[in-house]
């Protein structure tokens, strides 16, 4: 598997993954230049995942995880957000735009919102 260049989505499978599944159930597909990686929980999003993706040429990385208070592992989503903030600070330090990494909270019922975000991007 190689990576599409425009956008990499590191997704908590319980929230974002389900929202994508719901979106796909309505016959819609991801744009071809978006790569989607389902992870078991936002907490398993590693700063290295994000950096490796940027190294591999991704223009943008989204980390999607549950809303605060909805993570099955209690704080996986908060770790995910912290790691995104950490990478953003690092990118700033090395002169790259911190906006290349984005954290967003999502829930399984937000297929329509996911679609809108993808269209916006």
């Amino acid at each position: 598997m190689s990576m599409a260049q425009r956008l990499l989505v590191l997704a908590c499978s319980r929230s974002a993954g389900e929202a994508l599944a719901a979106l796909e159930a309505t016959g819609q597909t991801l744009p071809p230049d978006v790569t989607w990686v389902n992870l078991p929980c936002g907490g398993s999003v590693d700063v290295l995942h994000i950096l490796r993706a940027l190294e591999a040429g991704a223009e943008k990385v989204w980390v999607l995880a549950c809303y605060e208070g909805a993570c099955e592992s209690l704080e996986g989503n908060r770790w995910a957000e912290k790691r995104v903030q950490w990478v953003q600070a690092l990118l700033q330090e090395i002169g790259l735009g911190p906006e290349r990494v984005v954290f967003r909270a999502i829930s399984p019922t937000m297929a329509a919102d996911l679609k809108a975000w993808l269209e916006e991007e």
């Binding site: 290295l48 950096l51 190294e55 690092l90 090395i94």
Partner: protein, 223 residues
């Protein structure tokens, strides 16, 4: 453990300016435990450097390694081959590790990637705090196991000063407890408050760094 933190990226980038083949070496003892210089941090720093240097015209090659204890030559020995291949080495060990590499590989250019800070312990997840200054003449037994030299902002041996308020230190009330409050509480708990009547004489700092670089010799371990 020895606690350290990564240097600002700007400083690291400045130090390796013009280097096109680089070795990043981590240490898997103290600095790995304080999440500053283990294999993971080596990978993270290397990835960040590759990203930062991507715009540069010449290609940059970064090797990633980490060793058990960078302050021991035996653990570093296998690095010789890699070191020979690169123009510079970025050490993610404490200052001891960095110097060991420099001594061991006299022809290599070694840069530190960390600022070595203090001897301390994790106070809470993500927070490390200083506990020992390495003065070479431990006084903990007299102060209920709390070091006034390290933990009192003024290193007072006959404290507290007037800046102790509600158990906090005036130097940084938000983060610092008054060491002398801690000492009092602990001695009270141990029923040893009378210890505080003793006036501590001025400390002899010759056993500390003030007496110049220190070394320890164990004759029984030498032939």
């Amino acid at each position: 453990m020895i606690v350290a933190e990564r240097k600002p990226m700007v400083e690291i980038l400045a130090s390796i300016q013009g280097v096109s083949r680089l070795l990043v070496v981590g240490c898997e003892t103290c600095v790995a435990v304080c999440l500053a210089g283990g294999a993971k941090e080596v990978a993270v720093l290397s990835a960040a450097l590759r990203l930062a240097l991507r715009e540069r015209t010449s290609a940059v090659e970064i090797l990633e390694r980490s060793v058990e204890r960078q302050c021991e030559e035996e653990f570093n020995a296998p690095l010789a081959e890699d070191i020979a291949k690169v123009e510079a080495v970025l050490s993610m060990a404490c200052g001891v590790g960095v110097q060991t590499l420099a001594e061991q590989f006299p022809d290599a250019i070694i840069y530190p990637a960390l600022n070595t800070q203090f001897m301390g312990r994790p106070e809470a997840p993500g927070i490390w705090a200083e506990r020992c200054l390495g003065c070479g003449d431990c006084v903990l037994g007299r102060f209920g196991g709390i070091c006034p030299i390290t933990r009192c902002s003024k290193s007072l041996l006959n404290g507290p000063c007037g800046g102790s308020s509600n158990g906090r230190c005036e130097v940084d009330p938000e983060h610092l407890e008054c060491a002398w409050q801690l000492i009092y509480d602990r001695l009270a708990r141990l029923g040893q408050l009378e210890r505080l009547y003793a006036i501590e004489p001025p400390k002899d700092w010759r056993s500390a760094h003030d007496g110049g670089p220190r070394r320890t010799t164990r004759e029984d371990l030498r032939l």
